[in-house]
């Protein structure tokens, strides 16, 4: 059984006990434990079920590379699936549950898949589920969806909040082990702005566990002293619990800080995403130990040798009384010695190398440990727990020579440098045959915008596994880096370690090397996705020779651990199967993030009410209090209508239209764009931007104008007022204010930079209220101030003045066909002005109206709407707006384009009004059918609906549409196709349905 040792544990605090719950059972751990060490301390070796075969699985590793120990963490608003036990810090009250089993972790029906594993080889799903084709959608897909995924999806809204943090520095160092800290010290002493990130809660990395010595000091002491030195430097920022997640172009680095994962509910942001811009990135990300591929290497109790050492030394947890160590290198001997030191038994060290190891082996033998060289594990015995190993000759086929009873197998297949961050942006690797590892190729780094490398690798991430080499390599690399950055190196005495001479490692990709099919089909490469040696061999045999193809076919490395343990072993097996060497097979692509990060950290603050900024007019709160039914218009919210009591929105719209036509309506038009254009060349500039002539407009007058892009298509419209000789105010559509402002600036800055014109976007300076209806003048006269009579302020005129004591500018413009004023007041007084009109208007039947009433009234008048009648392919000529296109002007934006043959073409569909015979409302976008069909067998069409409404004024449906030869076909009937396949008849009519003479607006 696994249990807590009486003494030791460098990371735990025995004075602070912490209770936690696993699958409903209550366990006890200590502060400083991870969930994995806490579970092991309570004899919970069985931690989950594998994805495909539902095999019982225990923890294999002690860090971010862990493939098996994944849990449903927390509850309700703090529930999260696939949490790694090895990277989850224990806290009091933690709740975890195992995943992927039914009905229980101990007895899982899905384990039947393991018995059927002969029939579920690699590619099984691809081969099985393709025939018969219709089965995929209705049978297979729902079935697979049911069994897909390990953890449960969260159902409750996330209780936590998240944030981003932008950080800029000269050097960002990822990894806080000996190499990372030493690199930070070198960069820090050179006066550079330095950031150091460490993914765990502790500085120092593996050095202290492995008993390293730095400059004559035990590693732990050196780490403490160095951290203290660094903390005292103002130019160095240090961060634990922060993983370097990804390296991107232009020195961009993402850091993932787990601020409050271990203190849930304390009000702090749960995660903080560091968005780092740095001149240089240093990865000191260390190395990950590789498993060995032998039969039964996934049985709970089989662990990485380094992980066993971590649990014993860091957490004082014994994974079991008797540990067999199996290795192809010297490092695993450290585990055997650590176990012995803790008073536990090591029945044997199985060393695949015929000659065995160096000084460490001598120490082990001296400590009385039996060492078997040239041997391997044929097979691990046990089901939910290791009970023993059968050992064999490594050179043979797996005949068991002897069975050794044990509880734990500590395996080591060598070390793989963590090259992920180096590779994210294109850093290349080379294969080091002697060390059997891919290492960063310093001559091919990821390149920045200046063509020079911007990532440097130090320490074991660069393939240096001994302290002396690590320190020398770090000093060299950082010295060069400091120089590159133009800084002056500080004075630091050189440091070295004290390393034992080690015998060379022997590459062992399969154990034993001639393992039979039966053994190979129980030798796991990818634990999480259940990929075995036999699966990769099958993939090679079936022609999946590219490593990327083999990966997808077998799913090797495609689980949430992204193959940290499996990739190198998998591609070694693949290369052997292809009779090729490892470098020519190559690796799969390393992509960020290094380890899964929360989606919420990416969203940062942009959740809930901060998901998206909502623009509010000065009267927004009044609208909200008065029942506005909101409509998004760009980032604005505008009232669509103001339903009253139990009224439907549709009824409210109709009431608002009729009330405005008969009495008095108020519209909040504040969102309209208001661009002030000034300068001696302003008239010339607007003549270029608008299709019609603006330079001839007289001060005090307004003119409606159209704006096209250089391709001739209509992009915006609005009323322009001339404020004085040099100054114009251009109204744009609500959605177009920012883009038209940018459009103006672009032309002024890039093309007509010598024209004397200034533009200021004054949209939000004013609240604008449309006062509309037969009683409009009465209410303005009642609140009093400026003269708003027909004579003083005629149609399409404007005047500055004061109304109700508020300075204003009044425009006599109408988008409804009614007597209408648009009054602009300073935004800070907008609400006051609006409320004044609501009060004063009571006797005149005032009602606010929303955007839908606005749309209906403009459609009744045949006024076009940008975005309805236009869709980016429509030119003003299509809309019968020839009157607004100047023929006198030499040029304007779009003029040339509109002269091209396909623009100046009578076949283009033209705007007309449409009236259904039965009075019904046509559907938006409905097509008018024509005879015959096109080459695709589709019915030919001759027109489409662009705007369609029920007109409360006329009591029937009205619509506008673009129809081939439309204006010449007045009175003709068209058939519009409905969704149900039937057609509805509509007559082509004039688009102006209401008051064609314009008498109502001009009173």
């Amino acid at each position: 059984m696994s249990t807590r040792l009486q003494t030791g544990g460098r990371l735990i605090d025995r004075t602070t006990a912490q209770e936690f719950t696993f699958n409903g059972k209550r366990f006890k751990g200590f502060a400083g434990d991870t969930l994995a060490s806490g579970l092991l301390a309570n004899d919970q070796m069985l931690m989950g079920r594998s994805f495909k075969y539902h095999r019982p699985r225990g923890v294999v590793a002690s860090g971010a590379e862990e493939p098996n120990a994944l849990f449903n963490m927390g509850e309700d608003g703090r529930f999260e699936p696939n949490a790694r036990a090895t990277t989850t810090e224990l806290f009091d009250g933690l709740t975890a549950g195992s995943q992927n089993h039914f009905p229980s972790l101990e007895f899982d029906i899905g384990a039947i898949n393991a018995k059927l594993s002969r029939f579920l080889p690699a590619g099984f799903y691809y081969k099985m589920f393709i025939h018969p084709r219709p089965f995929w959608k209705y049978v297979y897909e729902p079935f697979i969806r049911q069994s897909a995924g390990l953890g449960k999806a969260p159902k409750a809204r996330d209780d936590d909040h998240y944030e981003h943090f932008y950080h800029h520095c000269d050097v960002a160092i990822v990894g806080g082990g000996i190499a990372g800290l030493r690199a930070a010290l070198i960069a820090g002493q050179a006066g550079l702005r330095v950031l150091v990130l460490e993914q765990t809660a502790h500085w120092g990395g593996r050095g202290p566990v492995d008993g390293a010595t730095v400059g004559g000091q035990p590693a732990a002491d050196w780490v403490d002293a160095t951290v203290a030195d660094l903390s005292a430097m103002e130019n160095v920022v240090m961060r634990t619990r922060t993983m370097g997640a990804g390296v991107y172009d232009h020195g961009y680095l993402l850091g993932y800080e787990r601020v409050a994962d271990h203190t849930p509910g304390d009000g702090r942001p749960r995660h903080r995403l560091w968005r780092v811009r740095t001149k240089q990135i240093v990865t000191a990300t260390g190395a990950i130990e590789r498993p060995l591929a032998f039969a039964g290497n996934d049985i709970p109790g089989v662990m990485l040798a380094s992980a066993v050492r971590d649990y014993v030394v860091n957490y004082a947890v014994s994974p079991g009384d008797r540990t067999v160590v199996v290795t192809n290198n010297d490092d695993a001997y450290r585990t055997a010695l650590a176990i012995k030191d803790a008073g536990l038994d090591v029945p044997a060290i199985i060393d695949a190398r015929p000659e065995g190891g160096g000084a460490l082996m001598a120490q082990a033998i001296e400590a009385g440990i039996r060492v078997e060289t040239g041997k391997g594990i044929a097979k691990v015995k046990g089901g939910k727990r290791v009970t023993g190993v059968g050992i064999c000759a490594q050179a043979g086929e797996g005949a068991v020579l002897e069975t050794i009873p044990c509880d734990v197998v500590a395996m080591s297949g060598g070390w793989s440098p963590v090259v992920h961050l180096w590779s994210h942006c294109g850093g290349k690797l080379f294969w080091d045959d002697a060390a059997a590892m891919f290492r960063p190729d310093a001559s091919k780094p990821p390149l920045g915008s200046d063509g020079a490398g911007f990532v440097t690798v130090v320490g074991s991430a660069d393939g240096h596994l001994h302290t002396t080499d690590i320190l020398a390599n770090t000093a060299d690399a950082m010295g060069a880096l400091v120089k590159t950055l133009g800084a002056k190196p500080g004075k630091l005495p050189a440091l070295s370690g004290e390393d034992m001479p080690e015998a060379p490692l022997a590459p062992v990709w399969m154990m034993p090397q001639g393992a039979s099919y039966a053994l190979r089909s129980k030798a796991w490469l990818d634990y999480q996705n259940d990929v075995k040696v036999s699966d990769v061999q099958l993939a090679a045999q079936e022609g999946f020779e590219s490593v990327e193809h083999a990966k997808r076919y077998t799913t090797l490395g495609m689980a949430t651990d992204q193959g940290k343990l499996s990739n190198i072993n998998g591609l070694a097996i693949l290369s052997q199967s292809l009779n090729s060497d490892i470098p020519s097979v190559g690796t799969t692509t390393f992509r960020p993030p290094y380890h899964p990060i929360s989606m919420s950290s990416l969203a940062g603050e942009a959740t809930r009410d901060l998901f998206q900024p909502i623009r509010k007019t000065p009267m927004h709160d009044w609208h909200d209090a008065n029942g506005a039914d909101w409509e998004p218009v760009g980032a604005w919210r505008r009232p669509y209508a103001f339903p009253r009591g139990h009224e439907t929105v549709e009824d409210a719209v109709h009431r608002e239209v009729l009330n405005t036509r008969e009495r008095l309506g108020l519209l909040d038009a504040s969102t309209l764009g208001k661009l002030i254009v000034k300068g001696p060349d302003a008239g010339k500039f607007l003549d270029m931007l608008y299709t019609n002539m603006m330079s001839t407009l007289k001060p005090g007058r307004c003119r409606y104008g159209l704006m096209c892009n250089e391709n001739g298509f209509l992009v915006d419209d609005g009323v322009v007022a001339r404020l004085d000789d040099d100054t114009f105010l251009c109204h744009t559509t609500s959605g177009g204010a920012d883009s038209i402002h940018a459009h103006m600036e672009e032309w002024l800055q890039t093309e007509w930079w010598d024209w004397k014109v200034w533009v200021v976007n004054a949209t939000e300076q004013y609240a604008q209220v449309a006062v509309v209806g037969p009683n409009a003048r009465k209410v303005l006269e009642k609140i009093g101030g400026m003269n708003v009579s027909k004579e003083a302020l005629p149609f399409m005129g404007w005047a500055d003045g004061e109304l109700g004591g508020i300075a204003c500018r009044a425009y006599r413009i109408s988008f409804s066909g009614e007597l209408s004023y648009e009054i602009a007041v300073p935004a800070n007084r907008g609400l006051e002005f609006w409320e004044m009109l609501v009060d004063a208007g009571q006797e005149f039947g005032v009602m606010p109206y929303g955007t839908e009433a606005l749309h209906i009234m403009r459609a009744e008048k045949g006024f076009i709407m940008i975005g309805d009648e236009t869709d980016g392919t429509v030119i003003p000529q299509d809309l019968g707006l020839h009157w607004a296109i100047s023929k006198k002007k030499e040029d304007f934006l779009g003029k040339r384009a509109q002269q091209r043959s396909f623009m100046d073409n009578p076949d283009r569909w033209q705007l007309v009004g449409l009236e259904t015979v039965d009075g019904s409302v046509l559907g938006d976008g409905m097509l008018a059918v024509a005879d015959g069909s096109n080459e695709n067998g589709q019915r030919n069409t001759q027109g489409r609906v662009t705007s369609t409404y029920h007109s409360p004024t006329l009591g029937r449906g009205i619509a506008m549409g673009l129809v081939k030869d439309g204006p010449d076909r007045m009175g003709e009937m068209l058939d519009f196709m409905k969704l149900d396949g039937l057609t509805v008849k509509a007559k082509i009519v004039d688009p102006v349905f209401f008051d064609p003479e314009g008498e109502k607006q001009n009173v």
């Binding site: 909040h161 944030e163 981003h164 943090f165 932008y166 950080h167 800029h168 702005r193 304390d266 009000g267 702090r268 942001p269 903080r272 968005r275 811009r277 603050e605 942009a606 009410d609 901060l610 998206q612 900024p613 909502i614 623009r615 509010k616 007019t617 000065p618 980032a635 604005w636 002030i676 000034k678 300068g679 001696p680 100054t727 004397k756 200034w758 533009v759 200021v760 004054a762 949209t763 939000e764 300076q765 004013y766 300073p826 935004a827 800070n828």
Partner: protein, 177 residues
């Protein structure tokens, strides 16, 4: 709920005027000096004295800040003094919202929302930056070493206020004090 670690306040009574003109033009610089008594600040910087000051917004845009009570006179003065230059003076006081952040960690709060480098080396106390806060446009400058003023469009003031409140909430300090 404990106190935020940097205080957030929306300020009233601060007027803002946009001047579009060539800031390299000596006549423009002189007219600004005559109207406001202040010198046009250097690139990407501000010269602030309480509620009055000038901010460099671009080579051809100046932000003039003054108390609400001086708004009309300042607009009129600038308009008159710049009448002989090619210039546009627009009162934008109502179009903007002003927030003040106060606290030793004020730069850290900015760094949660603003992509620009907020380190003292890169952002001296006289700096003005036009940038973005979360998803909206904004500009900021320093009143003193621990006080920052932020301006944004009035339509997104609620969004800005909520975001600043969340970013200054007790417990969300980036660095221990």
């Amino acid at each position: 709920m404990s106190e935020p670690y940097v205080s957030v306040a929306r300020l009233d009574g601060i007027a803002m005027i946009t001047v579009r003109a060539d800031l390299a033009d000596k006549a423009v610089v002189k007219a600004v000096k005559t109207s406001t008594g202040m010198t046009v600040p250097a690139t990407a910087s501000a010269l602030m004295d309480g509620d009055s000051g000038l901010g460099w917004m671009s080579p051809d845009e100046l932000l003039v800040v003054c108390p609400e009570t001086e708004r009309a006179a300042t607009v009129d003065g600038l308009t008159a003094n710049l009448s002989k230059s090619h210039a546009l003076v627009v009162d934008v006081s109502d179009a903007r919202a002003v927030f003040e952040l106060k606290g030793a960690a004020v730069r850290d709060v900015l760094a949660k929302l603003v992509p620009t480098d907020t380190h003292t080396d890169a952002l001296p106390q006289n700096a003005l930056r036009r940038t973005r806060f979360g998803q909206v446009a904004g500009a900021f400058w320093f009143q003193d070493a621990t006080t920052v003023r932020i301006v944004c469009f009035r339509s997104v003031a609620d969004y800005m206020h909520r975001m600043l409140d969340q970013s200054t909430a007790a417990g969300s300090e980036v660095f221990a004090t």
